[in-house]
């Protein structure tokens, strides 16, 4: 079953555990500046919004890459950067509409979320379940459920409403 990351900003507290876990997995150090997932703080609104690659089926980055360094992982559906092939031209960073693929000055290559090979570390690090990794066909389930609880069709209530 293909799975996808589902992000619910309402649950996020802005703790950056996800960024720490991501950078540790990929860089071996705790370094939010090298995280593939970023949490944005909207101070005035009091909102924290985690954001990362959604692994497009038809991926802009993949199509733009002149050396085919971005390939599909058939098991996870992730678009992965092959470090040995990437020449650091950054064309993918321009073509991605969401900005989720970025250049890494230290290596001269690009970095993006690769779903940690099917065990995303941000998910296990998140203390609030703001990020989950679930059946890619059912990513709307939680929202549907939420709305479902607000749908009130019990006879007694409809009677009270008239």
């Amino acid at each position: 079953m293909e799975k996808a990351l589902v992000i619910n900003p309402d649950k996020c507290t802005g703790c950056l555990q996800c960024e720490l876990a991501c950078s540790y997995e990929n860089e071996g150090v705790f370094n939010p500046s090298k995280s593939r997932i970023k949490v944005f703080t909207f101070h005035q609104e009091g909102r924290f919004v985690p954001y990362t690659c959604t692994q497009c089926s038809d991926a802009w980055c993949q199509q733009a890459c002149p050396v085919d360094a971005i390939t599909l992982n058939l098991l996870t559906g992730a678009k992965e950067v092959n470090e040995n092939t990437c020449v650091g031209c950054k064309v993918c960073t321009i073509s991605c509409p969401f900005g989720t693929i970025n250049y890494n000055q230290n290596t001269g290559k690009v970095i993006k979320c690769d779903l940690c090979g099917g065990d995303p570390k941000c998910v296990s690090a998140c203390p609030t379940q703001a990020i989950t990794y679930i059946d890619a066909n059912q990513t709307g389930m939680e929202k549907m459920r939420q709305w479902a609880t607000e749908t009130d069709n019990s006879p007694s209530n409809s009677a009270a409403n008239v």
Partner: protein, 618 residues
């Protein structure tokens, strides 16, 4: 090895910036943050110096776990000699700047001397510069934050700054980081401004790693996170209500100091409680609380993000206060609310915003207003002296105006900026200042919670709850329930809490983890990160060493055992209501046993034996 291993020394007098290796011996003896910075300060300044002179130094320091994935590993401290108390001051803050400092490759920054003109320090990894701050001198923390982000075109820059209160010499100005987190107490911001240092702006991209045992570390971190999630206080109470979960609890047990500590219960407690912050307002149907928020790496997330009712008198035509910002935590809600008899949640939230905006400590400010109110009601202050506003208990107008005056450094605000000790002395009523060593109490009455009174009386930075939070045991039953009304056994309890806290504060962790964690949970995290044999016992001993080091500093600064006491009101005037009715603080009764357990002589001086056991010189 989770220390970066390096410190920055910034000489503000001549602008010289140098890098030094961290002292190996000291980091093994004092761990980091509070302990290590206190050691550096003790070695480098004369404890008798004038805190606002160039002779004083100011140290910003992280702990070995700061910047790692350890839950709450984002803390940093500011250590200096404090102007409010003339004692060693160590103020601790969360937010994000501590981790950023570490990520830039620095364990600490030592500021010395005084800059001839206003400057700020800019750190981008090993590129470090002092830059002119004339354009932001005289402006608020919030303005400074925005200006620096714009100037450097870097939204990820982390900033700590002082506001106008610090520049004006308010004795209790703090250093605010990330807009609404603060190293708030004892006037550490006043010291920063006295050096003509407006702000510190940091961007770190090096990564924090270098773990002694990476696998062991992640295991210990995950176990720690699980323990926080399962604990009812850290897993439910704090995320839902923040520290404000305490307002109703403490009121019920009759330990909520009210009207400058005349009373121990407040009728308006519910109106200013954590629960009330969730209730929809009448005006716009929105609750005060928008969401909870975490500091760096924190899986508890006690932070409050709040709004003020736009129709409230305090924010009329002031759009800068209409958005979300850092809301009330318990100590602030108490000091601004119960201690002044004010039950207007919006007024309290507004003053809290102003405290963050202009960088001053809401605890000392609130308690100072309370003292002013009592003097006003007693006729020691006239309405002319209080700026034409009646300073009666319960007046939200007096409270909000007072805050605006302190922020601007004008009128009666100049008096309020003195703190309650100096204010009460000035108007001839020194006994009305609810302070120890010049610093105001937080929100727990020593008549209703006996252990905390002993902790206040002996705290090295003046009255303070986060030096030995015996409330955990005496009220919440963590790790074990003790009777809050008895003095028996409290000296030992206080000492144990004080020592453990010294270790937590020096690790770079938040004290709130200790609702769920003991040193047994913390030691494995430090050991896996640092190596070198960190056990719970060694951590407790490190905490004890730190306590004695701070005590030594204070003795040299002129503190004596006569300063280890509480104001007469708490020792002589019994609580009038609640479970503590008829009871006074038994602090004098507890002190001899406390000194003995500490290994101090009857003058409160560490004995030679204690010194040699802890490896302290002279």
């Amino acid at each position: 090895m989770s220390w970066a291993g390096k410190l920055l020394r910034v000489n503000l007098t001549n602008g010289e910036i140098t890098s030094e290796m961290l002292n190996e011996q000291w980091k093994n003896d004092y761990l980091g943050a509070r302990g290590l910075a206190s050691k550096y300060l003790s070695e480098e300044i004369d404890p008798a110096c004038d805190p606002l002179s160039p002779e004083n130094k100011m140290i910003m320091a992280t702990g070995p776990l700061t910047g790692t994935m350890a839950a709450t590993g984002g803390r940093y401290v500011v250590v200096t000699k404090g102007p409010l108390t003339n004692c060693i001051a160590c103020s601790n803050s969360g937010g994000f700047i501590g981790a950023e400092m570490k990520n830039a490759g620095w364990d600490m920054v030592i500021f010395e001397g005084k800059s001839p003109t206003p400057v700020y320090l800019y750190i981008e990894n090993d590129q470090v510069e002092l830059i002119a701050a004339d354009d932001i001198w005289g402006t608020s923390v919030w303005h400074t934050d925005e200006w620096l982000h714009n100037k450097h075109q870097d939204p990820l820059l982390r900033i700590a700054a002082v506001g106008r209160t610090a520049e004006n010499g308010c004795f209790y100005a703090g250093i605010v980081n990330d807009l609404h987190r603060a190293a708030g107490r004892s006037g550490v911001g006043t010291v920063m401004a006295s050096k003509n240092l407006k702000a510190v702006a940091i961007r770190g991209t090096l990564g924090v790693g270098n773990l002694a045992d990476p696998e062991g570390f992640m295991k210990a971190v995950n176990e720690g996170k699980a323990a926080l999630a399962e604990n009812p206080v850290t897993g439910q109470g704090l995320p839902a209500y923040g520290t404000q979960v305490l307002m109703n609890v403490i009121n019920e047990i009759g330990a909520l100091p009210t009207n400058n500590m005349k009373d121990v219960q407040f009728d308006g407690a519910h109106a200013i409680s954590g629960e009330a912050m969730h209730e929809p307002r009448k005006s716009d149907g929105r609750p005060n609380l928008t969401t909870n928020a975490a500091c760096f790496g924190c899986t508890i997330a006690c932070g409050r993000i709040s709004t003020i009712d736009q129709g409230h008198f305090s924010v009329e035509n002031k759009s800068q206060y209409w958005g979300n910002s850092g809301g009330l935590e318990y100590e602030a809600a108490w000091a601004l609310g119960a201690d002044n008899g004010v039950d207007d949640l919006d007024a309290l939230t507004y003053v809290n915003f102003v405290c963050n905006e202009e960088g001053f400590d809401p605890i000392t400010f609130g308690a100072t207003v309370a003292a002013a109110m009592e003097m006003y009601e007693d006729g020691d202050l006239t309405i002319e002296q209080t700026g034409g506003i009646a300073f009666n208990f319960g007046s939200a107008e007096a409270l909000t105006k007072g805050a605006e005056w302190v922020a601007a450094g004008e009128g009666f605000g100049k008096d309020l900026a003195l703190g309650s000790k100096r204010l009460c002395e000035k108007y001839g009523r020194p006994e009305l200042s609810m302070t120890v060593k010049g610093q105001e109490f937080p929100a727990y009455d020593p008549r209703g919670i006996q252990g905390i009174g002993l902790n206040y009386a002996t705290s090295n930075r003046g009255a303070c709850h986060v030096r030995g939070y015996t409330v955990a045991s005496e009220v919440l039953g963590i790790p074990e329930k003790t009777d809050p009304l008895t003095a028996e056994g409290k000296p030992g309890l206080v000492k144990a809490f004080q020592d453990a806290t010294g270790a937590v504060d020096s690790a770079g962790l938040c004290l709130f983890t200790t609702f769920a964690w003991s040193l047994d949970n913390i030691a494995p995290q430090i050991e896996a990160a640092c190596g070198g044999g960190w056990t719970a016992e060694r951590l407790a001993e490190t905490g004890e060493r730190i306590w004695n080091l701070e005590r030594d500093f204070n003795l040299k600064a002129g503190i004596t055992s006569a300063d280890d006491t509480l104001p007469e009101r708490l020792r002589k005037e019994a609580a009038k209501t609640g479970p503590a009715k008829g009871i006074v603080s038994k602090v004098e009764e507890m002190m001899p046993e406390y000194y003995e357990l500490r290994g101090w002589d009857s003058d409160g001086v560490p004995t030679d034996e204690t010194r040699s056991r802890l490896g302290l010189k002279d």
